[in-house]
C-alpha cells in the first residue's frame, strides 16, 4: 500500500507576477489543465488513491478546481484525498515554537494510516508518469529512497528551482545540488518525486515544521546521502517544471509540438484527468483563420490565431490577430486588436484596435480581469 503526499514550493517570482493570488500548482497548462492535474492523474493511474496535499498559501483556486477529487475518482469511502491547509494560528506562532504546521499534521496523518510506502511528490510538475515500475524497482532494490529524475538540459530561467543528482555507476545518488543551467549540459534533473519506506519518511520528516520540495531535496535528503541508500530512477517522457512567467510561457508553447503533446497526453494509454465544465463546443466563424494552435472548448473564434494556446470560453472577434500568445479563460479580444507574445490571464479584455507586443524572450503578462 502506497500513500501519496504532495508538497509545493513557494515561487515568489511567479506568484507576484504570473499567477497572482494562485498557488503554482493551480496554474493553467495546455488550454484546459492545471499543473496539479498531472500529479493527481499520475498517482491515480498508478493505483495510489490515498493522497494528502500539503497547502501553504493562495490555495483557494486549487481547492475550487479539485473539489472532493471526484474527477480523479478520489471522492471515496476509504482513501481518497485529504488537504492539509495552514491554520490561522500557524502564522502567529514564532519560528521557535511552531509545532503544528500543515506539514506536521500531514506527517502525523501518514504515521497513523496503514501503508508501507510513501510517494512524496511536487504538486506542480507536468509529466505523464507511471509510478508502478519505479515502485517495483524501489521494493526490489532494497534502497531507502528511490528518486525519479529525467536527463535533460536545464534552461537558465529555471536555475534556482531545478535540482540535479550525481549518480554513480550503480545507480546510487551521491550528490544533490542546484542544477547549473549551463548551456549544453545534460543533467540528471530531479522530478521532485521520491518513493520511500514509511519508516524512512517519518525519520526524515518527523521533526520538520515546514517544507517544500526544494528544501526536502537539498536540506533534508542531501545531508543523509552518506547513510541512506538513495537510488535514482530515470523517467524518459516529456516533462515540464514551471517556475516563472518565462517557463510558464515556454512550456505552454511546447504543447503546439504534436510529438510532445502526444507524449504527455497519450502515453501508455494513461489519461490526464481534470475538472470538466461541459462548455459548449468551440465555434469558428466564417472568416476564422487558424494556424498551429491548440484551442479549448467554449471559444468563439472569428479572427486569426497563429502559434497560440487558447483556454476555455475565449472570444476572438473578426479582424483580431492573436499570434504567439497564451490566452486564459474568458479572454476577449475585440475587433482588429493585435496581440503578439502575450499572456492574458483569465477574464482579460482587449479593446478594439489595441496593439500589444511582447517578445519571445519576454512575454508580457496581463493580470486577471484587466481591461486594456
Amino acid at each position: 500500500m502506497y500513500i501519496g503526499l504532495s508538497l509545493s514550493d513557494p515561487h515568489p517570482d511567479f506568484v507576484s507576477d504570473g499567477s497572482t493570488k494562485r498557488t503554482l500548482s493551480a496554474a493553467q497548462f495546455a488550454g484546459r489543465y492545471r499543473l496539479v492535474d498531472f500529479m493527481l492523474s499520475n498517482m491515480v493511474n498508478s493505483g495510489i488513491n490515498h493522497i494528502g496535499m500539503v497547502l501553504n498559501s493562495h490555495y483557494q483556486s486549487l481547492i475550487a478546481h479539485i473539489g472532493m477529487g471526484k474527477e480523479w475518482d478520489l471522492a471515496r469511502k476509504s482513501g481518497g484525498l485529504t488537504f492539509f491547509p495552514p491554520y490561522l494560528s500557524d502564522a502567529r506562532q514564532s519560528v521557535n515554537n511552531e509545532i503544528d504546521g500543515p506539514l506536521h499534521r500531514a506527517v502525523q496523518a501518514v504515521a497513523k494510516i496503514s501503508g508501507e510506502y510513501v510517494v512524496l511528490v511536487d504538486s506542480s510538475v507536468v509529466c505523464n508518469l507511471d509510478y508502478r515500475p519505479a515502485m517495483d524497482a524501489h521494493r526490489l532494490s532494497g534502497a531507502d529512497v528511490m528518486a525519479i529524475y529525467v536527463k535533460k538540459q536545464v534552461q537558465p530561467d529555471s536555475r534556482g528551482y531545478a535540482v540535479a543528482y550525481d549518480i554513480d555507476e550503480d545507480g546510487r545518488i551521491t550528490g544533490i545540488s542546484g542544477a547549473s543551467g549551463a548551456k549544453d549540459e545534460v543533467q540528471n534533473v530531479s522530478l521532485g518525486a521520491y518513493i520511500m519506506d514509511k519508516r524512512v519518511f517519518l525519520q526524515l520528516m518527523g521533526r520538520e515544521k515546514n517544507c517544500g520540495m526544494l528544501r526536502f531535496s537539498k536540506e533534508i535528503l542531501a545531508p543523509q546521502l552518506w547513510r541512506l541508500r538513495v537510488r535514482g530512477y530515470e523517467f524518459r517522457g516529456y516533462t515540464a517544471q514551471i517556475s516563472s512567467v518565462e517557463t510558464f510561457f515556454r512550456h505552454n508553447m511546447e504543447m503546439l509540438d504534436t510529438e510532445k503533446r502526444n507524449e504527455l497526453f497519450h502515453y501508455g494509454g494513461r489519461r490526464i484527468f481534470t475538472s470538466r465544465r461541459d462548455s459548449l463546443p468551440t465555434k469558428y466563424g466564417k472568416r476564422a483563420h487558424i494556424e498551429n494552435s491548440i484551442i479549448a472548448d467554449g471559444c468563439q473564434i472569428e479572427g486569426t490565431v497563429i502559434n497560440s494556446v487558447i483556454c476555455r470560453n475565449v472570444r476572438i472577434r473578426p479582424g483580431a490577430v492573436v499570434e504567439n500568445c497564451v490566452l486564459k479563460d474568458r479572454t476577449v479580444v475585440e475587433r482588429h486588436a493585435k496581440l503578439n507574445w502575450m499572456i492574458v490571464d483569465r477574464g482579460g479584455y482587449i479593446s478594439e484596435s489595441r496593439n500589444m507586443l511582447g517578445s519571445d524572450t519576454y512575454p508580457v503578462y496581463i493580470e486577471p480581469e484587466r481591461i486594456i
Binding site: A30, G31, R32, Y33, K70, E71, L256, T258, R261, F265, R271, I272, F273, T274, R276, D278, L280, P281, T282, K283, Y284, G285, K286, R287, A288, H289, I290, E291, N292, S293, I294, I295, A296, D297, V305, I310
Partner: protein
C-alpha cells in the same frame, strides 16, 4: 434495499422512454439505441431530456432501456454527469425484467411504464412526467407542471406548432379554443391541425396508473401511449390539455433531420435558450489542435480533434482527425472518426469510429431537391465505398 428504504415522497418524477431503436435512422442505430446517438459535437441525444429534468428541478428519473442498451447504460452510469447520483432519487436505469408469472419485453411505451409501477409507486409521486428521449430541445418542465396544476388537468401534453405541410409526420392534437384536447391523431394523412405532440406528457399518477392497468388487461391493446392510453382517457372524458411551447424543438429521428439539427447549431449554438447549459459526459481529452496546414471555418469542434486538412460548415465530435489534404464540408462527424489524407467528405453523417481511406470520396454536393445525407455507420471503413 428494503422497501421502506425506497419510500420517499417526490411531487413529480420523470420516466424516459429510451428503449426504442429509432429505425428511421437506419444503420446509425444498428449498434446503439437512438437516445445514445451523438449530437452537436459534445452530446448524446439523451443529454437533452436529462438536462431538462435536472434544470427543471426534477431529480428522480427512470430511464427505460431495451434496444442495444450497453452504450446507453455505461454513458448514464450513476448519473454523476447530470448531478443525478443522489442518495434519494437520482437516475435509475430500468431494463425489462422478469418477475413471478411474467417474463416480458417492453411491448409498447405504455407497457414499459406499467412494468415499472413499483418503481414509481416507491416515490409516491402526484405527477408523472413521461418523456420520449429522441428530441433536441431545451424546456423548463416546471413551467408546464405549474400550468398542469393551474388548470387542474389529468393529462397535459406539450405541443409545438409545425408547418401544416409537415403535420402528417407528427402526432397531432386537435383542440378546442381553450386548448382542451378533443382528439389525438398519430401521423394523420390529412391533418386537421398543426399542433404536434413533443413527446412530453404530464399525468396525474393516480389517473394514469388506473389506465395503465386497464390497458394491460386488454389483450387487443398495443400498449402505446399515443395509440391506446390517450384515446382511452379522451373517451372517458379525462381533462387533457395542450401546453404550447414556442422554443426550439427538433425531432432527430431521420438522417435528414439529424443532419439539419446539427447544422442549426452553427446558426445558434444555444438553440434559443442561452442560460440552459446542456450537461453531458465528456471524455476529458486535451483541447483540439489546428495544424499549420489546417483550415477551419464555420464549424463546431471539440476536444481531442486534430485538423491538418480543411473543414467547412460542419460539426465535429471529440477525437476526430482530419489529415492533410482532406476536405470536410457540410457534414456531421461523430466521435473518433479518422479522415485520411486527401479524402473528401461532403453532405454526410459519419458514425463513431469510422475511417475514411486515403483519397476516398464520401457523399456528394447537397442539392435542393436531392436526397438525404450520405451515411456511414459506426465503425465502418470507407475503403471500397466510393462517392
Amino acid at each position: 434495499m428494503s422497501k421502506s428504504d425506497m419510500y420517499y415522497g417526490k411531487e413529480c418524477i420523470a420516466m424516459l422512454l429510451a428503449g426504442g431503436r429509432g429505425s428511421r435512422l437506419g444503420s446509425l442505430t444498428e449498434a446503439i439505441a437512438k437516445p445514445a446517438v451523438t449530437f452537436g459535437g459534445k452530446y448524446r441525444i439523451i443529454d437533452f431530456p436529462l438536462t431538462n429534468c435536472v434544470r427543471s428541478g426534477i431529480d428522480t428519473v427512470g430511464v427505460m432501456t431495451q434496444y442495444q442498451p450497453l452504450l446507453l447504460h455505461s454513458y448514464i452510469g450513476r448519473g454523476q454527469d447530470w448531478d443525478l447520483d443522489l442518495l434519494v432519487g437520482g437516475v435509475s436505469i430500468l431494463p425489462p425484467h422478469s418477475k413471478p408469472g411474467s417474463t416480458a419485453w417492453y411491448s409498447g411505451t405504455a407497457n414499459a411504464v406499467y412494468q415499472n409501477v413499483d418503481f414509481i409507486d416507491a416515490y409516491q409521486p402526484e405527477y408523472l412526467l413521461v418523456l420520449a428521449a429522441d428530441h433536441v430541445y431545451k424546456m423548463d418542465y416546471s413551467k408546464m407542471l405549474d400550468h398542469h396544476k393551474q388548470i387542474g388537468a389529468d393529462c397535459t401534453i406539450a405541443v409545438i406548432e409545425v408547418p401544416m405541410k409537415d403535420a402528417s409526420r407528427f402526432g397531432i392534437l386537435n383542440t378546442d379554443p381553450h386548448d382542451r384536447v378533443v382528439e389525438f391523431e398519430e401521423k394523420p394523412e390529412v391533418p386537421k391541425n398543426n399542433l404536434a405532440s413533443m413527446g412530453v406528457y404530464i399525468f396525474n399518477w393516480n389517473v394514469l396508473r388506473k389506465y395503465l392497468a386497464q390497458d394491460d388487461a386488454d389483450p387487443n391493446s398495443e400498449n402505446d401511449f399515443g395509440g391506446d392510453i390517450l384515446p382511452n382517457m379522451l373517451a372517458d372524458g379525462c381533462g387533457m390539455f395542450a401546453y404550447r411551447f414556442d422554443g426550439y424543438w427538433k425531432d432527430v429521428g431521420t438522417e435528414e433531420s439529424l443532419w439539419q439539427a446539427n447544422m442549426d447549431l452553427l446558426d445558434d449554438m444555444h438553440l434559443g435558450f442561452e442560460n440552459w447549459q446542456i450537461l453531458s459526459k465528456s471524455g476529458g481529452q486535451p483541447p483540439h489542435y489546428i495544424a499549420p496546414t489546417g483550415s477551419i471555418q464555420n464549424t463546431l469542434i471539440t476536444e481531442g480533434c486534430e485538423i491538418y486538412g480543411t473543414v467547412e460548415h460542419s460539426v465535429l465530435s471529440a477525437g476526430v482527425v482530419v489529415e492533410e489534404g482532406a476536405v470536410v464540408k457540410n457534414s456531421v462527424i461523430m466521435g473518433n472518426v479518422r479522415i485520411r489524407k486527401n479524402a473528401t467528405v461532403e453532405y454526410a453523417i459519419l458514425g463513431e469510429n469510422t475511417v475514411v481511406a486515403t483519397g476516398q470520396t464520401v457523399g456528394t454536393e447537397r442539392s435542393p431537391n436531392g436526397g438525404g445525407p450520405t451515411l456511414l455507420v459506426h465503425g465502418a471503413t470507407a475503403e471500397s465505398k466510393g462517392g
